[in-house]
Symmetry: C2
Subunit: 437 residues, 2 copies
């Protein structure tokens, strides 16, 4: 049966047909159809680097990987077995989008010990903190909206929000975190929200001081600017005293420090089990006012229906009865030793003129090379000559800059490997310095 309209299109069809070979000829069919939002999206530098540095003879400080030595294998194995033996019908079935209620309740109790007083209705489980950031973007960001971030800031947040065509306002950091004296001018530009990592920041490893936290909350309140607080590493402190999270300080600001009235709703808070239990489970959570949780649940329905029931129940079963707190003590010990090893190695192997942060916790420290250095060129040389890797700092700056900065991870490698890796990296830096005369 002939279709007149088709005949007009016949040549086009034939051309397509001729050009097709294992999908190659069809490239234009899909690739010319990409949405505008994809124009600013490129593959994460970190992810691409991770591929390059997976060779076994490379010492990599590039990733943000927890040490496999501290994974609680037996605890997770026993948890999985218990869950499937006793509650398989729930664990393998579809589940509510907001997450497994006993896990949300456990997280409520967990957070209460850090001064965050919320109810399960304020908590939604996400597939890693990355999904929390994505859903925040989906819910709040119109193309062109400005988000105020630290500079440098977490690359994954930039990836998440650039997909919604966010723009950025930035405030620099120093050893005490965000420079709050530079904050006000940016707040007056009316950002949609502030994005802050107050504890052992990724990438720079710095911690926002208590005084600055109070000032930040005061300023944010005066300008009516809501805060997104990202706290993946809060429990991983290796020295000094815990500093209350912004969500707690905001409660104090509104209710007074003595009040039990915990949650103002002005701060959306994110945390994760990836650094305390295991990243492979992809279990994180987001705390927000109920009216925001309701909308985040709608967003998540469209994004992935819900996070793996099985993974949520295994995480709950493994974490309950105080295991998480006992286990975190062990992680602190191991990572604290590795941080010390890296700081000692830097003092030993790095030349004068290089500066680095002294993180009180977390996974990363931040190196600033002398004027004129380009850390991307340095990485290339470090990989070629010495088989050692790190992440050049520039990609963490939303508005550019940071060309002579580097992020180094200290959680993944054993202390003796850290020393050797820093020795190698130091030799590349020294060679470059020498060649400049």
């Amino acid at each position: 049966m002939p279709i007149p309209a088709l005949e007009i299109e016949a040549r086009r069809g034939a051309a397509l047909r001729d050009g097709v070979k294992n999908g190659a000829g069809m490239r234009t069919l899909w690739n010319e159809r990409f949405a505008q939002r994809t124009r600013r999206m490129t593959s994460s530098v970190i992810r691409e680097l991770l591929k390059l540095t997976e060779k076994p003879d490379v010492i990599s400080f590039a990733g943000g990987l927890p040490a496999p030595e501290v994974f609680p294998y037996e605890q997770v194995r026993a948890a999985a077995d218990t869950v499937l033996a006793t509650q398989g019908q729930i664990a393998l079935q579809y589940a509510p989008t907001e997450g497994y209620l006993p896990l949300r309740e456990l997280l409520v109790r967990h957070m209460a010990r850090y001064g965050i007083n919320v109810r399960a209705a304020n908590v939604m489980i996400t597939s890693g903190s990355q999904q929390g950031l994505d859903l925040i973007g989906k819910l709040f960001v119109n193309p062109g909206d400005c988000i105020l971030t630290e500079s440098p800031t977490y690359l994954g947040a930039l990836q998440a929000w650039s997909a919604y065509q966010a723009e950025y306002l930035t405030v620099p950091i120093d050893d005490d975190g965000l420079d709050v004296e530079r904050l006000e001018e940016e707040l007056r530009a009316g950002p949609k929200f502030l994005y802050i990592l107050p504890n052992f920041q990724n990438p720079a490893g710095v911690t926002l001081s208590l005084e600055r936290r109070r000032r930040l909350v005061e300023l944010a309140n005066h300008y009516g600017a809501p805060i997104v607080e990202d706290d993946p590493y809060g429990q991983l402190r290796y020295e000094g005293e815990h500093v209350p999270p912004l969500v707690r300080i905001d409660a104090d600001y509104h209710h007074g420090t003595s009040s039990e009235d915990g949650f103002t709703g002005g701060v959306i808070y994110l945390s994760t089990l990836s650094k305390t239990l295991a990243p492979g489970l992809r279990i994180a959570w987001i705390v927000a006012p109920e009216s925001v949780i309701t909308r985040l649940v709608q967003m998540k329905q469209g994004s992935d229906l819900h996070t793996s029931t099985f993974a949520q129940m295994v995480a709950y079963e493994a974490a309950k009865d105080g295991f998480l707190d006992r286990h975190v003590r062990r992680i602190r010990e191991v990572y604290g030793e590795r941080r010390n090893a890296m700081l000692a190695a830097l003092r030993r192997h790095f030349p004068e003129g290089v500066r680095w942060t002294k993180p009180l916790g977390g996974l990363f420290l931040w190196v600033t090379l002398p004027e004129g250095f380009d850390s991307t060129a340095l990485l290339r040389e470090a990989l070629d000559r010495e088989k050692v890797a790190f992440v050049p700092g520039a990609s963490f700056f939303p508005l550019g800059g940071g060309e002579r900065t580097c992020r180094l991870n200290f959680s993944y490698c054993r202390p003796e490997v850290i020393d050797e890796g820093i020795r190698r990296l130091g030799s590349v830096v020294k060679r470059r310095l020498a060649s400049r005369g």
Copy 2:
């Protein structure tokens, strides 16, 4: 230290402070900041209904839940144990965004048996098919872009794409699936892509005939319109012969039926382990040309980094060595019996003038009530009087209509419960008919 600029804002701050009580006073802080895309997003009717029908005395045909009786508990339990005992360091760690390679290779072999000849580079693992749909929206849909769907179509796809402000063109279906004779006019409007569920469609249970598949592929090629083929139930056929998927028919169209050259890239194909293994693992996959997979991987990096390594490895370990095929035979048996039970019950308990589809597979059948019926009002009465639930069909129509249609799930309830539920539902329909005189 006084801040002049803050004084101007003092009253506003004080007002905010006074109004705050457990997050309630802060509602406007976030809620006035929702992105424009949220305006069309409401909570899924299905998800809200699921909550209402969770009471134990309600017989629910509303969900799309697999039967817990067919979950492979022991297989998954043994798989979890093996994975954690032998490969815990991988299972609990971060993993590549595109997915666990042995699982992707297993899926390649699995699809080859259905005539889909692709390589692992064409396959990305997603957190359920819902995420596949979301990432397709993120990659391709600009606000206002038109997507051509069947009418009715899968509600989850509409939820995913409405978040990217998609518009819809629709073509009606009949007992042989999409009415291809009505397709050409809509194709000429230039949709971004066609979205089709050819097998045992959700919601209507109908299957696109081979002749119509060929015609659809021919038309899509002539108009240069790419296809998204969603195939969650393809293996769950209870009678008749397997019909090749569109991705295979497109290959035949370009290369001839005898060619081994399998993948043209013109069809993006989605499938899932949710209906054959277990939905609680959230493991599905997407097949696309490599250049599209590369971009989907970027999108997924920003969305959730990767799907649970542990869940992927457990799915692989459970599914390998032909278990999935053996297990699917058992599911077919159980669901086939339940489909038969529902069809028999409908004949037994439903009055004349009501029509329903006779699905050859899948989870759903589709009831059309006599003229003048409103299935949403019927649901309310069915829940109140008879404690039986289904999904009113209207929400599956992107452009409205379908007020007298209902989606009934037959996979979840046991045969005797199906008979009782259909009896109850029939009595509500009869009462309504009688009251109209």
